[in-house]
Symmetry: D2
Subunit: 348 residues, 4 copies
């Protein structure tokens, strides 16, 4: 996989529609999904024209706009929602921009932002408040809103005194902890295999932490919730071993949110009937949720834990993430390069 991506020189993209926007990229987060794309895990779910520039967590400065664009002007700092939407299909009309019937997903189904320039549209950019730096906020474009999106669903079920369990305190999970903490008065228990991640969880707002290599998670949750279980479990790992916690640690009527992926759910239907819990799917958050997350960042409620890398280090970053050697989120800085990346998976 170290040979997954290639650095090449490409032409600068140009505006073709009245609502087009070209952004000069200042920061581009590296995501577990980038690894999954390279592994070919998305081929069966979405069309992927290759070669393609990866990168779906971008922020930067607007350098060109189509002639009917009103929301932003040249020189504006923006964060880029990864999904370019049509604005006229029914899901777009309902605010469910992630279900847009005519969408392109940066770095997944169209060229993304591990590059100097990203071509996107008025409906996919959010102007940044004056004191927020693009490079600091870039990973929120996917890691951030995905965590926020799941957290927003979870807090609907969390009254004061209720318990949330957050599994996997990495690039997404540490944002998830901060979001639940900011938007609810629930008790938060963080679960991770690494003690450094649990330390990050505690500074992010977790009330309790448990490391499955050292303690029994089921007993810990049972104990801390007085036998009731957690009303909301946010699973940022999505491995077999984490999805099977659900029947044991979820309260009656509660939810086990699937955010991370890679493993399977394998449970008897009867378990869901007996405990009346649900496995809740979660995709990237909506455009308006990214607006809300920007507000949280501006208010100081959510802080990203990042490390920065040059564009030439992408394959190295991919490998480090695979081996859980990155704390928080890796951000790629493409500035100064006139190159893009291309997927060259073994099968192509």
């Amino acid at each position: 996989m170290t040979e997954g991506l290639r650095i090449e020189e490409v032409e600068r993209p140009h505006i073709e529609r009245s609502d087009g926007v070209i952004v000069e990229v200042e920061g581009a987060g590296w995501c577990q999904t980038d690894n999954h794309i390279i592994e070919g895990m998305w081929e069966q779910y979405v069309p992927q024209p290759l070669p393609m520039t990866l990168g779906h967590e971008n922020a930067g400065t607007v350098v060109e706009t189509g002639d009917e664009v009103n929301l932003v002007s040249e020189g504006d700092a923006v964060i880029c929602h990864p999904v370019q939407t049509c604005g006229t299909c029914r899901p777009c009309r309902q605010g469910e921009t992630m279900y847009c019937e005519n969408q392109s997903f940066n770095g997944l189904t169209t060229d993304g932002g591990f590059a100097d320039y990203l071509k996107t549209t008025e409906r996919a950019v959010i102007p940044l408040p004056g004191d927020v730096e693009p490079i600091d906020i870039a990973p929120h474009a996917d890691a951030g809103i995905t965590a926020y999106h799941a957290a927003k669903k979870a807090v609907q079920g969390l009254s004061p005194g209720d318990h949330a369990v957050i599994i996997g305190i990495g690039g997404l999970g540490h944002i998830g902890v901060q979001c639940v903490d900011a938007m609810s008065a629930a008790q938060i228990t963080a679960v991770d295999l690494k003690d450094s991640a649990l330390d990050l969880a505690e500074t992010s707002g977790a009330d309790h932490v448990v490391n499955p290599t050292k303690g029994n998670v089921r007993e810990f949750i049972d104990d801390v919730t007085d036998g009731e279980g957690a009303r909301e479990v946010m699973d940022f790992v999505g491995a077999d071993v984490t999805t099977e916690y659900a029947p044991d640690i979820t309260a009656a009527g509660g939810n086990h949110h699937i955010i991370g992926y890679g493993g399977h759910i394998h449970e008897p239907a009867q378990a869901l009937v007996n405990g009346e819990f649900s496995y809740v799917g979660n995709i990237v958050g909506q455009y308006t949720e990214l607006q809300e997350l920007v507000a949280l960042v501006e208010q100081g409620d959510v802080e990203l834990h990042t490390s920065r890398y040059g564009l030439e280090e992408v394959n190295e970053v991919a490998e480090k993430l695979e081996h859980r050697e990155i704390d928080g989120r890796a951000v790629i800085i493409p500035w100064g390069y006139v190159t893009i990346l291309e997927i060259v998976t073994g099968t192509k």
Copy 2:
């Protein structure tokens, strides 16, 4: 399994608490869960003191009340919610009577109503409107409210023009179709292996029907929903083959409700992420939901399709249900017998 239950003579139960109620049973529905109890499927989930009288779908006439009971008096016709609740734990206070921390479940964890008399409490009986016969409404005490409970959750996500798919049109499913039809303006597609069940679905309000032995369910749903998928899928079967429909037939953001059980869910976490659908667990409905279902029955919105049997035929009924030879719901009439049933599974 034909030897699953034994008919014996037992003593009439007596009031022990101020809120106790003794009901003379006039009808007792036979449920797939009774078969599952006999098979031992519930042993790992709940305590079951044996021997025990089965029967959790009961209606009849009040014959004795504790000295602080106000809701009903001797001679009142009532339907019995299967769960006897404490009324003081937090779930009871929230109306989530199914999550009562001190509950007894008729015919599952305490003696039920395949008997002349059932001992229950003021918090578990609902007076019937004048023109509703106990024997006609008995199966609603479990089959009915379970279907209603899931339908009530499902219709929250169903706007006019949206699609619901209802899988398994048996004792519960045919009530589910009627509930969704009465409470929403959604399009309903019924799925069943038996054409007679699909006929029942159509008279119950289904707009479309499909038999998997004759047509491709995935293609049918794709076609009827214009490629969008169904917002709500109600799975009254809960077999491997039905839970795996979810990624293909559920719309983005939709729900696959697990009501029937017996099989497993086995899906990659990524499927739930990509389609953002959920597997939603469903248990028996709350007391207040049974009140609402009684209102539907009184209004003529829900009609039970039943067949009647004597108490001596219980084992025969169990076998018929196993072989899908019962249309709608079987109701046992214990009247005139001074006997109860006892679980005698092979392992005891």
Copy 3:
């Protein structure tokens, strides 16, 4: 007021933006709001450039489209949502198209459809199913979705057995009754001063009717709801005499929806505290709600009661409506005229 509107010849509008759409109008509903506009009641709420063509309930055929329009083509039959929205402000992104920060409202803040041609946009037109005639559906563009919008909010609070009261069974109210009937299993009581309106209510799905000139509404509701009151009251009149029903006929925790207007709310704050009821404001429904209403019409769940008039009869129609001499909804047919209407209120 009979001299409220003037018929004039004007130029055909032209496409100016990439998302523009010109519709040849085939039917245009006359609304109580048109009377209120002529009376000057909207001057303090919104900017109104005069002279202006009135008319916000339009349907017809697309005759020209901007060069980036994908949703419709020349020749398509469409219904026109009255609000032209930007698609990029936060409310638009949330699906709350009625709160668009850059909106134009046909016939209220920009030229409407009592004319041969209406200039609107891709975001404001909905293609009609093949068997729906524009002239039959036109009033749904405002009367319909306003009633539907309020009904959709109301049914969220209506479980089977609950009661809804619908006050004023005119152009909107008779649609409201049908919507509540189609989307819930609640008991519906209709209130109107005219027996012919109550007859229309009954054929629309009302379970009970009461005429305040003949019976005591408060006692009637108290009786029919067993003293509990109505969970949802939909007030399509909005007069002093109807808003003051709320404390007496609304159940604890219930809602009195204000849809019609003209009068005032005047109640002690304590009344809202004691009964915990709310006065809920209601504006025109969203674009997606109009899609849902079109689905209801296509399914046969909602039928409009209309009468047709020529463009030259507009002032006469206004006066008839004022004197409650129109049953259901008046539809103006502008076809064949090359004229528009202009507000000439006394004060201009």
Copy 4:
């Protein structure tokens, strides 16, 4: 009004039902509603058998229990929900304990807790965590849960970046600020006539404060919300002057919560239509909401600002509150007295 209450000696109450509980009162909050009761404002809304002991905000120690009580035992510290509920009517079953059809309200419709002993029931007491003192938490029994109840409704509408306005930072309002702050990431603007109250608001979590005697509230809110208005307004005053803020400061689709009372709502129905805002009634919170508030107190998220008085000072306290001379909440300590209070309004 200084002669409103009389101190007398009465007999200690005794258990009469199996679920009865006698509490020795350690603290009893004085509420604006006590003043309103003395003024006779509740006579038309509820039956009030006189003479009656006032006091509905009580906490203390259980000294006697009925023979079927399981939740508490002699010696347990408890807070008393002011409403004694039946547990068997439909509202109780739904968790809507405030709508109990067979309720008694301490100090309003039955004897309350400005006395050594309060007779209540198992369904109306909540055991306190070990480190919470009854006297410190007593006012939460009404002031607290009323504020919490309204805050819980309000935060449902508050996404990060949205604005809440809280009017009146007294005994309830300063709890309201803390609850909204703990349960949401919204921006909070506090409004009060007293600068000391605004100081309390700021230490309670308000982001902005405005004093109507010094600044224009409408302009301030317009400015701080960028012209959008506040999504949720919590009106703890309920005077004419505060209810009429609604059309000007509430965002489209927002809510003006009526919690305080004394004045009127007087608005044209058209205002609610144009802005689609609602006047939302608010009563005392449910039993389970008091549990949640106790959790907030235990977690340190909500802190009461109180001052303590002896039982003999009640009339003085009433007068001070009338003249806004009490900051936070006054708590009466009946300990050591064998007396109760009696309403002797002028009209009796």
